[in-house]
C-alpha cells in the first residue's frame, strides 16, 4: 500500500478535529432549541464524514497531480476530482433530504464545517506555521543576489 503524504494527514487531522468540535456545537444548539433526535445525529455523522473524506481526497489528488509534473494532466485530474467530490457531497445531501432517518438541516449544515475550519486555520496560521516559506524566500533571495547586475549597477561600475 502506498504511503500517504504527511502534509495530507496533518491537514486532514486538523480539519477532522474542527469538524468534530463544530458538530458538537451544532448538536448542543439542536438540544437547546429542543429539536434534537437521532436523525440529527445521523445526519451530522453522514455529512461530517463525507466532508472530511472529500478534504482527504482533495489532498491526495493535489499530491498526485503535483508529483506528475505535467500541467495539462494536473488540470484534468483536478477537474475530474472536483466533479467527483461534488457528486459525493450531492449524494450525501440527497440522502439527508430524502431518507427519513436523516434531518436535512443536520445534514446540510456540516457540509460547511471543513471550510470553517480552514477559516480558523488562516487565523491560527502564525502559531501553527504550516506555510513555512523561509526556504523558498532564501532561495529566491540567493537567486536575485547571484543574478546578473542591473543596468544601474553596470552604470555605477563604469563610472567608478
Amino acid at each position: 500500500m502506498k504511503k500517504v503524504d504527511k502534509t495530507v494527514i496533518k491537514e486532514t487531522k486538523f480539519v477532522a478535529m474542527w469538524v468534530i468540535i463544530f458538530s458538537a456545537l451544532m448538536q448542543a444548539v439542536f438540544l437547546i432549541i429542543n429539536k434534537w433526535d437521532y436523525t440529527v445525529l445521523l445526519g451530522n455523522l453522514l455529512s461530517g464524514f463525507c466532508g472530511v473524506l472529500s478534504f482527504f481526497v482533495l489532498g491526495l489528488t493535489i499530491i498526485k497531480a503535483i508529483s506528475s509534473g505535467d500541467t495539462a494532466y494536473a488540470k484534468k485530474m483536478m477537474r475530474a476530482s472536483q466533479a467527483l467530490r461534488t457528486f459525493l457531497m450531492l449524494a450525501a445531501c440527497l440522502a439527508g433530504a430524502l431518507a427519513p432517518c436523516f434531518n436535512i438541516w443536520a445534514t446540510v449544515i456540516p457540509v460547511m464545517f471543513p471550510r470553517l475550519s480552514l477559516l480558523i486555520r488562516s487565523f491560527t496560521v502564525k502559531q501553527m506555521g504550516p506555510f513555512d516559506t523561509s526556504a523558498a524566500e532564501t532561495a529566491h533571495a540567493t537567486e536575485i543576489t547571484e543574478a546578473e547586475p542591473t543596468d544601474d549597477k553596470k552604470e555605477v561600475d563604469r563610472v567608478e
Partner: protein, 94 residues
C-alpha cells in the same frame, strides 16, 4: 389561482437551484489552473515544494467552498423552500 401560484413557486425554486449550480463550474477550472501553476512553480524551484503544496492544499479547499455553497443552496431550494413558501402562501390566503 392557488394552483397557479404554487406552480410558479415550484418552477422558480427549480430554476433557482439550476442557476445556483452554475457556480459549481468555477471551482473545477480554478483548482485546475492553480495546480497547473503549482506544477510550474515546483519545476522552477523544487526546494519550495513543501510550502507550495501546503498553500495549494488550503487554497484549493477554500476555492471549492463556492461550489459547496451553491450545492447547499440548490438542495435547500429543491427540498426545503417549496414547502415553506407554499405554507406561507396558503396561510396568507387562508
Amino acid at each position: 389561482m392557488l394552483e397557479l401560484a404554487i406552480g410558479i413557486i415550484l418552477g422558480c425554486c427549480a430554476l433557482g437551484a439550476g442557476m445556483a449550480m452554475i457556480a459549481g463550474i468555477g471551482p473545477g477550472i480554478g483548482e485546475g489552473n492553480a495546480v497547473a501553476r503549482a506544477c510550474e512553480a515546483i519545476g522552477r524551484q523544487p526546494e519550495a515544494k513543501g510550502s507550495i503544496t501546503s498553500t495549494l492544499f488550503v487554497g484549493c479547499a477554500i476555492a471549492e467552498t463556492t461550489g459547496l455553497y451553491a450545492l447547499v443552496i440548490a438542495i435547500l431550494l429543491i427540498f426545503v423552500a417549496p414547502d415553506m413558501l407554499v405554507n406561507i402562501l396558503t396561510s396568507t390566503l387562508g
